[in-house]
């Protein structure tokens, strides 16, 4: 069936901020959808609150709304844009939930808007566990047996049917509270008794345990003609019990016979038909009992998912793109396969390589969090690698994580077998390395299987890797045979070096002398059956390479690797923009990255894509291959975050041209001594500071410059290891905690700065070509200095800075840019304390805020930067319209205010005893994503940002105040105003007394630590838990109140309520409370904002 003629405009709903479980894979899918729809001549309207995404670039839609994804806002957009249809299946659960809310509220019907991609009925069938269970049974498939029990006797009776061990889940509790596994009657009694008590409806769900079963996923697509294809099978190396997002997974499935695989395929097709997904994709998860092959359906998602992004990258079959085409009426056989261009999309990809995905965790950011992996996803990103066999793909994937200790190693003494076998019983972020160490220490494959239930085939592969390691170590010399053997199983030069006791460079030199280089194969969807027209490559050590010669000038762009806290989609945005701009400028663009969630690893983005780890070895080999096939102009390293920047020096040493700011100049910014000289030369101030290589030096510096001090390791991103230290005990404690992390040492000095109390922090993103400075934007942080800029909310343009202050910031930035020798982007952080400007740090690279600046002001900084790097001047970029004539320091009257707010993952992380980790903000970044609110003034924009971040300000209700003594004077006015607005004020006795003296009517509540003999009524924690408090204001104070503070914040996190942990934030929000009471948000597209700005600038 050809394209539907009745759909001329489509509203695409994005997935909002990056959170754990919903990351930039939806930017990839949404971007594809927007491109496809526009190419089909459809008017595309987009709503997504996340400014860091590529999809929200105004070029990808006709009307782009960076607005909160709420039914009210979407309704306003519908009224304004009158779309024919809404496409909600490419924006994750957020978009699907929004679509269902629009349906439930009757908005779709009211405005006659059709849901395309999945019907309401199908969404319900897929999401409602009870309906889905019945549908699976009707399809002749099976689900895990379960029984709902309301009494202990019922629980005991259920054992007869379910057997031990069984899983107990209390109904309607949050965060898995009270759930657990019972292995015998004693445990069952204990868990069920507390579970029944914990459940507000006195109900627990008992289900048969499928822990340790093999877990599989199938990715399917179906069209209106009932054609179904399975795009990819994925097997989890970690058996059932670990969330698939936290599991190491492999494609294709490797331990199924055809008969078993076809059974899964048959069930999947029956389910997709029964659910009624008829214009799109879905994924279905299975558990398979390894002892008898019994299959249980776990769940299905009637939409594009994280796994579909992975499957798309793994196979070359672009699920989101095809889903968008199916949604507007095409059938699979009408859509060509992009890679072969001659065959249709109605086929099933077949792989002649192995794909391994490994999750990346951020437990180091949450020291109190329990790192046991469960069915709640905790990873913040992932890396994917492709190899010609499993061992090769696995080792490439592990080194793609760029994380110390995540690769297999053969260093140090052998571990204790019994201890290791015990440790690997618990799945954690480091389990696979523990497995390798257990085998290395002499544990048998059977013992490892018993402890982990990891399929023996995967265990044997690690045995094999250890054997190869042994061969490498024992070989008389490092010859061709040994190296080929090592490389076939994915060993890096660094690993070989470790095994041979020599340097990595030496291994590389020997290897190159022997002329042993990887070849590059192609991901072609068809195992070589048809020629591939799309250069999507991966390395392996074999005979034949498939890199085609080219006569165009090439530019290599290094991506930013797996998402992690501090380095995510924002950097992908910059890389993708550089690729687009350089391609438009006539260069052949070559992308290297290993993150399957991203737009940069879409084979449509760059002229050539290399899915490779971002290590020096892997990058050098790609560059070598490309140099063999044509003329390389240089490598872009300043857009891919610290990952890419970290490779600059090594590339330069290897004689590879670096585009833009040179590695030596980068060092000027990173190396404290050299940077101080630049500041001195420019008459600029920095907070008093010093550089320490160890504790003793740090103590000397701190006592010289005076406490409190801000300590931070150099060469890290996202404030890793960054803390405010108040005294000598604190600094000793700090060194004690970081000693095993390898972030401070002879080559990695610790920077110690005087911490500025009560300062405003300012961020600036600018572009410099050696002559002209072009400011992208000046951002003012809402929280005072001391909160990591990534976690701080900020406004653009600044809301309290005068024009002369902005001019000073600009002048200082110019001096720094000149001093460093920047060619390209520069981010500088300043603090303004008592009208004195201090330079906190400068980073000659794309920053996290580049996309925010671009969206807020319509300045395409990353594109311009990439052109500067290849020699264009800013003057010429202005002349030919790439940049507006006036830079970001110019704020026309009536310019809108954009507020960026961070989104934090505290709810994903529980401590060992099952409570949430503390939600206090600090100098170490912990947010996973961000949102933007844009409106005519700050209160409106800030209110939008809070709503978009998922903690919408309530229009009425109770506000609890508990602040440190230091903050008490500042809290009075805001609280008074809130009371006038009609909010009920609660406080504990100390704060209450002071508020009462200011005429504020306060309801006193009991502290969490109050003895019940001295006061009565519920404690504040109990009130919050019961949902009776709508907003919590809690600033950290001395140690006596710290315990209370933690309990309050943890309960607020659990109850999903708005929380303010700084007074600055609260004060900023007062106007916003007024706005939310006043009524719904007005919406305006970026294109309309751009139009108004153009008019204002022309005046």
């Amino acid at each position: 069936m050809p394209k539907r003629s009745d759909i001329n405009s489509v509203l695409v709903i994005g997935s909002g901020p990056i959170v754990i479980g919903q990351a930039c894979e939806f930017d990839y899918s949404g971007t594809q959808a927007c491109r496809v729809l526009r190419a089909e001549g459809i008017r595309v309207i987009l709503v997504n609150s996340n400014p860091a995404t590529i999809m929200t670039d105004p070029d990808f839609a006709d009307a782009t709304y960076i607005e909160p994804i709420t039914p009210e806002v979407i309704e306003s957009i519908i009224i304004k844009e009158k779309p024919d249809a809404i496409l909600p299946t490419l924006g994750g659960q957020t978009a699907l939930n929004a679509a269902m809310a629009l349906h439930d509220l009757g908005i779709l019907e009211k405005y006659n808007v059709e849901l395309i991609g999945a019907k309401v009925d199908a969404i319900k069938k897929g999401e409602d566990r009870q309906i889905f269970k019945q549908l699976v049974l009707d399809a002749g498939a099976d689900v895990a047996k379960s029984v709902i029990c309301s009494t202990l006797d019922e629980c005991l009776a259920a054992v007869g049917e379910l057997g031990y061990p069984l899983m107990v889940q209390p109904s309607f509790t949050m965060g898995g509270l009270g759930s657990g596994f019972a292995h015998d009657e004693e445990e069952l009694r204990r868990i069920c008794e507390s579970g029944l008590q914990a459940s507000p409806v006195t109900q627990v769900l008992l289900s048969e345990s499928i822990l340790g079963w093999k877990e599989y996923e199938l990715e399917l697509m179906r069209d209106t003609n009932d054609n179904c294809v399975v795009v990819c099978s994925i097997e989890n190396v970690d058996p059932v019990g670990v969330h698939t997002g936290d599991s190491i997974t492999v494609a294709p499935a490797l331990t199924l016979t055809d008969r078993e695989y076809q059974n899964l395929r048959d069930i999947s097709i029956d389910i997709i038909r029964a659910v009624g997904v008829d214009t799109g994709g879905c994924n279905i998860q299975f558990a398979v009992d390894p002892t008898n092959g019994r299959v249980v359906v776990i769940e299905m998602n009637p939409r594009v998912s994280r796994s579909s992004a992975l499957a798309s990258k793994a196979t070359g079959f672009p699920i989101a793109k095809i889903a968008a085409k199916l949604a507007i009426g095409y059938t699979l056989d009408e859509i060509p396969n992009d890679i072969t261009r001659v065959t249709p999309a109605s086929f099933e990809p077949t792989l002649d390589y192995i794909v391994v995905k490994v999750p990346r965790f951020a437990f180091e950011k949450f020291p109190a969090a329990n790192n046991t992996l469960t069915t709640t996803m905790k990873s913040v990103g992932e890396a994917m690698a492709i190899g010609r066999n499993y061992s090769q793909a696995l080792q490439k994937a592990l080194r793609s994580l760029e994380k110390r200790g995540s690769s297999f190693h053969w260093e140090g003494p052998l571990g204790n077998i019994a201890e290791l076998l015990e440790a690997i019983k618990t799945p954690t972020d480091g389990r696979l390395v523990q497995v390798q160490q257990a085998l290395r220490a002499g544990a048998t494959a059977a013992q490892v299987f018993d402890s982990t239930k990891i399929d023996p085939w995967f265990v044997d592969q690690i045995v094999l890797i250890n054997e190869v390691a042994d061969d490498i170590a024992k070989a008389p010399s490092l010859d061709t045979v040994v190296i080929k053997h090592a490389k076939n199983h994915g060993f890096s030069d660094a690993q070989i070096a470790q095994l041979r006791g020599i340097g990595e460079a030496e291994v590389r030199a020997i290897r190159h002398a022997l002329n042993l280089r990887p070849v590059f194969k192609t991901v072609d969807t068809c195992a070589g059956e048809f020629p591939a027209e799309t250069p999507y490559h991966y390395s392996t050590y074999e005979q034949e390479t498939e890199v085609a010669p080219s006569d165009r000038k090439k530019v290599v762009i290094l991506g930013s690797g797996p998402n992690r806290i501090g380095q995510g989609v924002e950097f992908d945005y910059s890389c993708v923009h550089a690729s687009f701009a350089l391609s438009d400028a006539g260069y052949e663009t070559i992308m290297i990255n290993c993150n399957p969630e991203t737009v940069s690893t879409d084979y449509d983005t760059s002229d050539r894509l290399y899915f490779e780890p971002l290590t020096l070895e892997d990058v050098l080999e790609v560059i070598h291959a490309e140099q063999q096939s044509g003329e390389l102009v240089g490598v872009v390293v300043q857009l891919g975050g610290q990952t890419a920047l970290g490779l600059a020096k090594g590339l330069q040493d290897a004689g590879i041209p670096i585009l833009g700011t040179t590695p030596d100049a980068i060092d000027l910014a990173e190396e404290r001594g050299l940077f101080s000289k630049i500041l001195e030369d420019g008459d600029l101030l920095a907070p008093a500071n010093g550089t320490a290589l160890n504790l003793a030096e740090a103590e000397v510096i701190a006592s010289r410059i005076g406490y409190p001090v801000l300590v931070r390791p150099s060469f890290v991103l996202g404030g890793r290891g960054m803390e405010i230290v108040y005294d000598q005990t604190g600094i000793r404690d700090y060194f004690d905690r970081i000693k095993d992390q390898g972030i401070v040492g002879p080559n990695h000095p610790l920077l110690v700065d005087r911490f500025l109390d009560d300062a405003i922090e300012i961020d600036i993103d600018a572009l410099f070509d050696g002559e002209t400075l072009y400011v992208g934007g000046v951002m003012e942080h809402i929280e005072e200095a001391g909160i990591h800029s990534g976690d701080s909310s900020c406004t653009l343009p600044p809301i309290t800075m005068s024009d002369s202050q902005i001019a000073r910031v600009r002048e200082a930035t110019l001096k720094i840019a000149q001093g460093i020798g920047v060619r390209g982007l520069l981010n500088v952080q300043f603090a303004l304390a008592a009208d004195v400007l201090y330079v906190l740090e400068a980073n000659p690279r794309a920053s996290r805020t580049v996309p925010f600046v671009s969206k807020a002001l319509g300045i395409t900084l990353a594109k311009a930067a990439s052109l500067v790097m290849v020699g264009k001047t800013i003057k010429s970029l202005i002349a030919d319209g790439h940049l507006p004539e006036k830079d970001g320091t110019y704020i026309p009257a009536g310019a809108p205010i954009a507020v960026k707010e961070a989104v934090l993952p505290f709810k994903r992380f529980a401590t060992k005893d099952g409570r949430f980790v503390d939600s206090l903000l600090g100098p170490e970044m912990r947010s996973t994503g961000e949102v933007m609110g844009i409106d005519v003034d700050f209160p409106k924009a800030f209110a939008k940002s809070q709503s978009a971040a998922g903690s919408a300000l309530p229009t009425s209700g109770s506000i609890f105040i508990s602040v440190s003594d230091r903050d008490k004077p500042q809290v009075i006015l805001p609280v008074r105003r809130l009371q006038q607005l009609g909010y009920k004020v609660l406080a504990t006795s100390g704060t209450a007394a002071i508020l009462a003296r200011h005429g504020i009517e306060v309801h006193v509540v009991r502290k969490h630590t109050d003895d019940s003999s001295v006061a009565d009524g519920p404690t504040i924690v109990e009130l919050i838990t019961a949902g009776k408090v709508d907003v919590v204001v809690n600033t950290p104070s001395g140690s006596s109140a710290r315990k209370d503070g933690y309990e309050i914040r943890a309960a607020t996190t659990a109850a999903d309520k708005a929380i303010f942990t700084t007074i600055a934030q609260l004060s900023a929000a007062i106007g916003s409370f007024e706005e939310v009471i006043a009524g719904p948000f007005a919406v305006k597209s970026l294109q309309d904002h751009a139009h108004d700005r153009a008019v204002a600038l022309a005046k």
Partner: protein, 376 residues
């Protein structure tokens, strides 16, 4: 592990390790792209005379079991894989693949760049080759190439007698008996027989050498020609038998080789594809319903029907529709006679290995039998 060589007739050589039996083997080198079902592939008689290259790198992970055998033995002439499994991991497994290969004397090679080989075959076309391991690999290369070039060519080769049953036998229907199908075994797979029997068909299997009189004397409700190896042009005797079946207006169904023989009986030509279709991911359009099936393929030859979706049988059997086509290369994938009760498909509705999308064709056979009986 001893070394092994794969030598192609155009002189290209791949060095690897010996896999399965040691020795030498000659055959037509073809690649198969399925990611599952190596055991079904190995025991598919259609692969007789061929050295099969698996494009999927890891082979042997799930071992072998009797249930997944598609015939009584391993038929491939030689086996080429990249990464043979060191262990077996599957609850259904009864043995290891290398043991099975050794049991049937199948000489194989592992550890070569199978993708380079596949791309070479795709560009240069399927060709003769030899796998040499152990002592056989020590001979001078020129001698090995000469040996390969002296091997028999697939074009013009008849292999039906090699793979066919020597005696006829019967398989009872499951459930209510619908009718009787007489199968001419040109290399039949177990799954085909199972599909028929499970639909209430009594199945009588005859050797490839069966003559028309014998076949018609059995008074079958339908005649079926199975898949099988070799050049359809070299199966003149079976084509003649088929013509008699068509003349008698006995319902006919054919799969793969059976499709090619129906094509020839109808008077169409068959031709050798450059490198064939061998995979379980092939999209086929059913022109009648407009639906796409993902199907299992294993064919090196195809029927040539000019002039669009419908043509006249040059042999005078009336109108013939090209009922199914490959969406990858428009190759004829199914024939349906509009004036006589006969149809066939080039691909494998019995799958094994492969998707079950086309199992319905066995239902069509049952319908055809029922309709034909009712018309009588």
């Amino acid at each position: 592990m001893s070394q092994a060589l794969l030598v192609l007739e155009d002189g290209r050589v791949f060095h690897g390790d010996s896999y399965g039996a040691e020795g030498k083997t000659l055959g037509e080198v073809v690649f198969a792209t399925g990611m599952t079902g190596y055991q079904e592939t190995l025991t598919d008689p259609s692969y007789a005379g061929q050295i099969v290259v698996q494009t999927s790198p890891h082979i042997g992970n799930t071992g072998v079991n009797t249930r997944d055998e598609e015939s009584s033995k391993v038929w491939v002439e030689g086996y080429v894989v990249r990464d043979p499994s060191r262990i077996v991991s599957n609850f259904r497994s009864e043995g290891s693949l290398p043991d099975e290969l050794r049991k049937y004397g199948v000489v194989g090679i592992s550890g070569i760049d199978t993708r380079a080989l596949t791309r070479h075959l795709r560009t240069a076309g399927s060709m003769r080759g030899g796998v040499f391991s152990g002592v056989a690999s020590k001979l001078p290369l020129e001698d090995l190439i000469a040996e390969v070039r002296a091997a028999v060519k697939m074009k013009g080769l008849s292999l039906s007698d090699v793979v066919s049953t020597s005696e006829s036998y019967t398989v009872s229907p499951v459930g209510d008996r619908v009718g009787k199908v007489a199968i001419v075994d040109l290399g039949i797979k177990k799954s085909t027989i199972e599909h028929m029997a499970s639909r209430g068909l009594e199945v009588e299997i005859y050797p490839a050498s069966v003559n028309a009189a014998e076949l018609l004397a059995a008074n079958p409700d339908a005649v079926f020609y199975s898949n099988g190896p070799g050049d359809p042009e070299a199966a003149a005797a079976q084509v003649e038998v088929l013509k008699k079946v068509l003349d008698a207006r006995i319902p006919f169904f054919g799969i793969c080789f059976g499709n090619q023989l129906l094509g020839r009986a109808l008077g169409f030509e068959t031709y050798k594809l450059p490198f064939g279709h061998r995979g379980i991911n092939q999209p086929v359009l059913d022109r009648k319903t407009g639906k796409v099936e993902v199907t299992a393929h294993n064919h090196g030859f195809a029927v040539k029907v000019d002039g669009g979706p419908e043509a006249q049988s040059p042999a005078g059997y009336g109108r013939v529709a090209v009922s199914h086509v490959s969406l990858n290369d428009d190759c004829v994938e199914g024939l349906e006679c509009l004036d006589i009760p006969a149809f066939s498909v080039q691909y494998h509705p019995e799958a094994a290995a492969g998707p079950h999308d086309s199992n319905y064709l066995f239902d069509r056979l049952v319908e055809l039998i029922k309709t034909n009986k009712a018309a009588k």
